[in-house]
Every structure is written in C-alpha cells, then in structure tokens.
Symmetry: C2
Amino acid sequence: MLIYKTITRLIQYRLCLIHYTELGIEQIFSYTLAKETGVSPEQVRKDFSQFGIRGNKKAGYNVLQLIEQINAILSKNTVQKIILVGMGNIGKALIHYKGFENRNMQIVAAFDIDPAKQGRKYRIPVYPLQKLPQIVRREDISNAIIAVPESTAQQVCDLLTENGIRGILNFAPVILKTSDRIMIKNISLCGELEALSYFTQRTTV
Amino acid sequence: MLIYKTITRLIQYRLCLIHYTELGIEQIFSYTLAKETGVSPEQVRKDFSQFGIRGNKKAGYNVLQLIEQINAILSKNTVQKIILVGMGNIGKALIHYKGFENRNMQIVAAFDIDPAKQGRKYRIPVYPLQKLPQIVRREDISNAIIAVPESTAQQVCDLLTENGIRGILNFAPVILKTSDRIMIKNISLCGELEALSYFTQRTTV
DNA sequence: TATAATATGTTACAAAGATCACAAAAATAA
DNA sequence: TTATTTTTGTGATCTTTGTAACATATTATA
C-alpha cells in the first residue's frame, strides 16, 4: 500500500504535463519532470512503474499519452463534483478560485446557515444546510469541504457522513471524529506557519 | 532527525491544551490528548520524551506546565511576525482569519502590486512590493506567505529570499526553485481535493 | 554489424516514522 | 507492609517511503 504520496505526486506530474502541452512539448524524460516537480528522476519512474505506465528507453515518455494514463488512474475523464460547507473567508476564497477547471473539478453547491449568504450572489448557489441531503443525493457527491468555525465543524461532519459523503477536506482546527471508512484531510494554515516558524528559527542557531 | 511530523503534532497538542485550560482541566493523560488529536497514546509520550518533557507516572501531565514546555520548544513566548504577498482571494481570507492570536502569530504587513489594494482598507496595511525590503528589515521577518498567481510566484520567491526570508508558505501551484537553506511548504488546495477524490472513488470498488 | 551513448525499470538498501510490548514508577487498597 | 492498579518511558519491531545501483532496451554512429 504505497499510495497517498504517490497519488499526490501523480497529481503534480499531471498539472506539469498540461503546461507542457500548452508549450507544445510532446516528449519528456523522467528527469525533466523530476526537476519541475522537485523530486528525483528515480521517484518519477517508480511512480509510473507502480501504475504500469511505461516509457520508451532512450525516448522517454509521450506527454499526451502520459496525461491520458494519469487521467485514467485519477478518474479525470469525468468532472469531479464537490460541495462546500461554510461561506466565511475561506469558503469565499475557494469558490472564487479558478484552478478547478484545469483539474476537472467543480464546486457545484455551497451551504451556510446564514440566510444573508444564501442565494445566488456568488458564482455558485448557496443553500441552507437543510437542503444538503437532497443535493448530495441528486448530484451524487462523495467529497466535501468543511470551512465552518470550529464550534460547528463536528456537527457538519456528522451531517455529511450521514448523507454518504466519504471524503472531507477540513479547514476547521479540530480533529473530526468519524468512522475510519471516511477519509479526512485536515488543513491547518496556522499550523503550517507555526511549523515553518519553528524551523526557520532553528537554522540560525 | 525525527522532526517535521513531531513538531506538527506538538503544535496540535498545544492548541488542544489551551482548550483544556479554558475548560479548567489541570491534569491530563497521554491517552486523553491522543484521542483528542487523533494519534496513539504512545506517540504522544514519545513526542514529549523526544524533547525531554516528562510526565508523572500514574498522574499524567500538568496542563499548564506542558503548555509552557511546548511554548519553549516552539519559541511561543514572543509573537512570531509574518508577511503576506498577494491580496487575492486567499490573501484576503488569511488576513481576516482570527486564529493567529491564539497561536502567538501575527501577519504584520501585506504586499500587492495593485495600487487599488494598497493602503489601510484592511485590518493589515497593504504596501507595494517595493516596500518589502524595508519592512522585512525593520520588522525582522523570517517567514512569508505567497498568495500570488502562478505566473509571478517565482519572482516573489526570489525577492523574498534575497531579503532574508527563510520560510515560505506557498499557495501558488508551482514548485519554487530556491536554495535548500530556504524552507518551503506548498499548499495545494486543489491537489488535496484531487487526492481525496482518488481515494473516495476507490473505496467503493 | 558492432559500439557507444542515453534512458528506462527494477531490485537492493537505507532512512524515517509509527506501533508494540514491557519494565519501572507512583498511587491506592488490603 | 504488600499487592494491585494505572500510567509513563523506551527499546525492539514493523511499515512506509525514498535513494542508489545496475541491468536492459533503444537509438545513433562508425
């Protein structure tokens, strides 16, 4: 089970490869991609090999073909729909973010308890939480973003999982308690900065 | 060198411990903290042991004392100042975020090329990039957040490192090229969602 | 056709990180 | 005082992840 990190890198490779197509580059080598994504060439080859992606000795890999193969692994041939709960600062930043299309992802609906935020003011419709079960079912959603305050995050998490959500990207600074069949990825912006700060403090010593 | 992960956890423990003080809890056990932060009790003890933090057999750890000890490790006794470059969606979300105080961190200045965003409209003063060297020096800043578009991220990174910044939290979807004395932590919100999506797709199969 | 050059693919090795198992200490109860 | 219970601290083990080394394939060239 050598998974998470490898997938993370595949995603990076893919983004990079898309840039190459835009530049008209058709063929690449493991070390090209390695340099661009900050890993070692061996790692690139091993990642590909892991998923049965083969290159041509001496000629490297074909960019378009490689993208297709990674797309297949990442199920990128259909748009992946996501919902967002919480239209605070982070929620708003996310719905304005334009990088999703390039990656075949789409936030299809947002939710907030505050009636003032509901409606069609934003790029994406914002519903009250009561509508969540219905929309998750209708749109067949598996993944959600939690961008609500700490105090309500667990409740939202419960609501999501009860309605069939299986993956959660959590911005609230709490460890959500849930079944281990649900995959949760916590993002702690403060935490990252604190860690950074620790190391930059130390290197001078 | 058993570092990064351990530090990340210490930061989590600390936040948790601060909650405990607010609830009036004075003494805790490794498994209490473990449950709250989603790790194993052994891990908690080992993390502490790593930094010479000792508990009392049978009585666990004293919350206040523990916070003090973690504070010392993380240099939390002075406010850690950060700057932010890029006042787009993410930048704005960050300056409105209220979790920094609790963690003794502060975004002291932001920078943007767009004159419309400069000035004192926001909670934090926004300067043109030309002012960056001066402010970094004056405020003695070591860490910065890059929240500019992909196209200018590398330039901003160069500017930052030339002026003595040693830690960067990067939101732009590019691998920044720089000296290996500079610590860079990349946050790819899309990437995280894509990875999540991969796994939630798979578990049903 | 033989040789040299260049990339891949895989196996072996190393390092980092997490888990397990258990001894030792402290408190409580008998 | 002795036995029992509870919780810490750590050495050993296992798992995951990354690095290095090298054999193999392909192309180009003489």
